[in-house]
Amino acid sequence: MRTLLRTTAVATTLAIGLCTPAVRAQNNAPKAPAAEKSRTWTVHADQIFTANGAAIEGGFISVVDGKIAAIGPIPSRDRDKEGVLRVAAITPGLIDLSPNIDLSQNSVEQSDEITPHLRVADALDPYSLSFDRALRSGVTTVLCSPPDENVIGGLSVVVKTGGPGSIAKRTVKADAVLRGSFGSQPSRRNSPAFGRSRDFYNRRPTTRMGVEWEWRKAFYDAVVARQDAEQSFPGVEQLHAVLDGKLPLMVQAGPTQDVRTAIFLKEEFAIPNLILDQASEAWKEPDLLVRSGAAVVLPPFTWNGRVGFDRGFHAWNTALLLEESGVVFAFSGRDATDRDERLSVQPGYAMRGGLSFESALRAVTITPARMLGIENRVGSLEVGKDADLVLWSGRPFDFTSDVVGVMLDGDLVVDPRAAQ
């Protein structure tokens, strides 16, 4: 009876294994032989960096149905095992909290500046090539945010960069943070208070002062609406969630003045959880950051150090300074000049500025995962987590190393054997 059951199970597995890849192969250009679409693999590597402790020299990862089933040193009997992928190094799939995912121009809700209830998940294009670019460079999880044209743009979403053509099915965490912006981006292109308006709406604000006023008014109104339900407005629930610490607030704040403004807002309204995105000049206010407990997402490094919409100055040793101050930080690839290697090269640059390898690795894997509360699924290589792996040709982040393979949920999206 037991044998019979097992045989049936094997037959069913075979049937599924045979059917599913056949359908997929029809739709997509076949990237791997059909049998390898089963999302079950064994990968051997000279070094495995789990981002959760020490590196494993001569390690293996066993992937079953898209999850990590086992990880550890290669048992001696398996050293010459056949049918195994072999690479130089493995890291967890990279996580980008401020990625370059294209949004169409139809992603800005111009009817209001404060739209906390809108979801960027409703505006994303799962077929956008920018997802594919990110995935092929090793970024497997991204936090997509509304564009920073509105003061409070709405809710960001954490998605995998590959998978089915449905944002809902790719979502790791919906409504992960509330996204907004300081600085001059939300005040540009808006209609003046006088003269002819470009659009149906006379949008506000048009100055940095106006942006700050919109922020404070939004939270003030939210506080008032707690007492008086008649004062409620669309998005008030999200603002309350931010005030209650249930929803992190992530803001774009590049130059020092915007970093300060954001922290003052946090302190004025006692916002528990603040993430400063593109905070290139955060290094100028380490004490304020430590006092506030805000986390930082750093922009990519540029040739002259100027970066972001407001051209903040991002020094090579920014990450090191934040590390030494005890500020939690992650790297991002937004607006990096290289379209194909945005995030994967940032740890290398930070190491040039003095950061340790382990800290640099954490800043693109487990730290961003913890900032969003998704570390139970992604961010490190542990049994039970998603099989999101980056396969490297040498030591990760070395200038002579490359991403040669990418696995997403057990799908070998980029096959390292093709590079050999």
């Binding site: 739709n27 409703d122 505006a123 799962p126 077929y127 449905s166």
Partner: protein, 470 residues
């Protein structure tokens, strides 16, 4: 029971109207009169005679139907649909004059993929009574021998037939209470052209410029009849629906508002959620489609995706999803990627239909599919059975089957051949359109060159009338 509805008299037939005072209407009537003055053999016939133009009018005027009503035994639909009984057994007092007509054709396409060679279609009072290779035709029934392929009139579950001003409101994104049948103008030139192309039933739909464009309607292209006054709720999730001159200007705003409206579930949104009102969702690009399918899954609705040209690249989410794709028919210049995606979708076995812009576009889009290896049966089914199902009139039109409306088109060759053309179009059993010229391909190769034949004989040459000329 089938919905046979009257259009308001003002919108139905110009001929039955009192002369209106407005100059616009007057000009319009005058131009129509000129059309009617053309040689009936060569002109597109914009109307059928006024007394037969509307079931609704017939219903009011015909004494036998009134008698039926008085007896309380049923509705006009039941009377037409009922098994055919000899005249003597009809309800007392009803002059049970059944109008019979038999059409014989070389090939009869039933619409569901089956064909009958040398088939006969027996029509009774505008409905199909029987079809097959050997049909019992009552003696004395007028019979017409047709040479060519007889197919169901095409049913296109989305169209751009009405003028843009009637289908688009730039000031507001949401028009849940709009009903597009109010803009139906039966005598419009566009309808006549659709009829001449073999399209007998269309869904009138708003543009994709409004997020909620209103309620669509199903009409016949001849006779001014509205088959369904509230057929679908027309939604748009395409680029045109997010306009920077009114709310919403973003896909986030659009989806959030639709989610709010469907969650509240009032009015038409409640009808959609309860399944009584289907949806047509304009979704062109792949991300529009992905968004529509996700929102539908969240809010509990499925329907037809209008214009989803690349649906064939999205079978991972669309295969057996319950959604139907209605392809745009832009004409010959469809790019290769779209052609291949359309063909992939059609070959996947998932249901699809076509939108109507103009005759050439429709013919070219279908021909492109055949060129890419889609079976003619699948394409013909899309134009007939599936079209009718999506339109919500699946039990009534789109097939040559007992009980269906006798909306038939005689084609000079296979209906999907680009060189074929409609020769005669029947709606409700009446010949409402005859081609003015005979397609070149069907001229007999022998005998004399076509140019030497008198023009007047060309139109009639392929129909040999053995009975009353209808």
């Amino acid at each position: 029971m089938r919905a046979v509805e009257r259009v308001p008299a003002a919108a139905s037939t110009g001929r039955a109207l009192p002369q209106p005072a407005q100059g616009r209407r007057f000009v319009h009537l005058a131009s129509r009169t000129r059309l009617g003055d053309l040689d009936p053999a060569s002109a597109v016939l914009p109307h059928i005679p006024k007394d037969e133009s509307m079931i609704g009018q017939t219903f009011l005027q015909a004494p036998f139907l009134l008698a039926l009503l008085a007896l309380g035994t049923g509705t006009p639909e039941v009377a037409v649909d009922a098994p055919v009984t000899p005249a003597a057994e009809s309800p007392a007092g009803a002059p049970a004059a059944r109008e019979l007509l038999a059409l014989r054709a070389d090939v009869v396409h039933l619409g569901d993929g089956r064909t009958v060679e040398n088939g006969t279609v027996l029509i009774e009072d505008g409905r199909i009574r029987a079809v097959g290779a050997s049909v019992d035709v009552p003696s004395g029934t007028p019979t017409v021998q047709l040479h060519g392929h007889l197919a169901p009139g095409f049913v296109l579950p989305h169209s751009s037939l009405l003028p843009i001003a009637e289908r688009f409101d730039a000031t507001r994104g949401f028009l849940p209470d709009a009903a597009i049948v109010h803009a139906f103008r039966p005598e419009s030139d566009a309808l006549s052209k659709a009829l001449a192309a073999g399209v007998t039933t269309v869904v009138l739909a708003p543009t994709e410029g409004n997020v909620v464009g209103g309620v669509t309607g199903v009409v016949k292209t001849a006779g001014g009849r509205v088959l369904k006054r509230r057929a679908h709720l027309a939604l748009s999730m395409s680029n045109a629906a997010v306009d920077d001159r009114r709310f919403p200007t973003s896909f986030s705003g659009l989806t959030t508002e639709l989610r709010r409206l469907f969650t509240a579930g009032e009015g038409v949104y409640g009808e959609v959620k309860s399944g009584t009102l289907p949806v047509l969702v304009a979704a062109r690009e792949r991300h529009h489609v992905a968004r529509a399918v996700d929102l539908g899954a969240e809010m509990g609705f499925k329907g037809a995706l209008i214009g989803a040209a690349l649906a064939g690249e999205q079978l991972d989410i669309l295969d057996k999803s319950g959604w139907t794709v209605v392809f745009e028919t832009p004409g010959p210049n469809i790019n290769t990627r779209i052609q291949e995606a359309m063909a992939d979708y059609a070959k996947s076995g998932n249901p699809f239909a076509f939108s109507y812009v103009d005759a050439d576009g429709m013919r070219m889009a279908t021909a492109q599919l055949l060129r890419r290896g889609v079976s003619p049966d699948a394409v013909l089914r899309a134009l007939t059975v599936t079209g009718a199902q999506v339109a919500g009139v699946g039990g009534r039109v789109g097939q040559i089957e007992r009980g269906f409306d006798a909306d038939l088109v005689l084609w000079s060759g296979h209906p999907l051949e680009l060189s074929s053309a409609p020769v005669v179009v029947y709606v409700d059993g009446k010949a409402v359109h005859r081609a003015s010229t005979r397609p070149a391909s069907t001229r007999p190769a022998s005998t004399r060159p076509a140019s030497t034949r008198p023009a007047s004989t060309r139109a009639k040459a392929d129909t040999k009338h053995t009975g009353a000329n209808r």
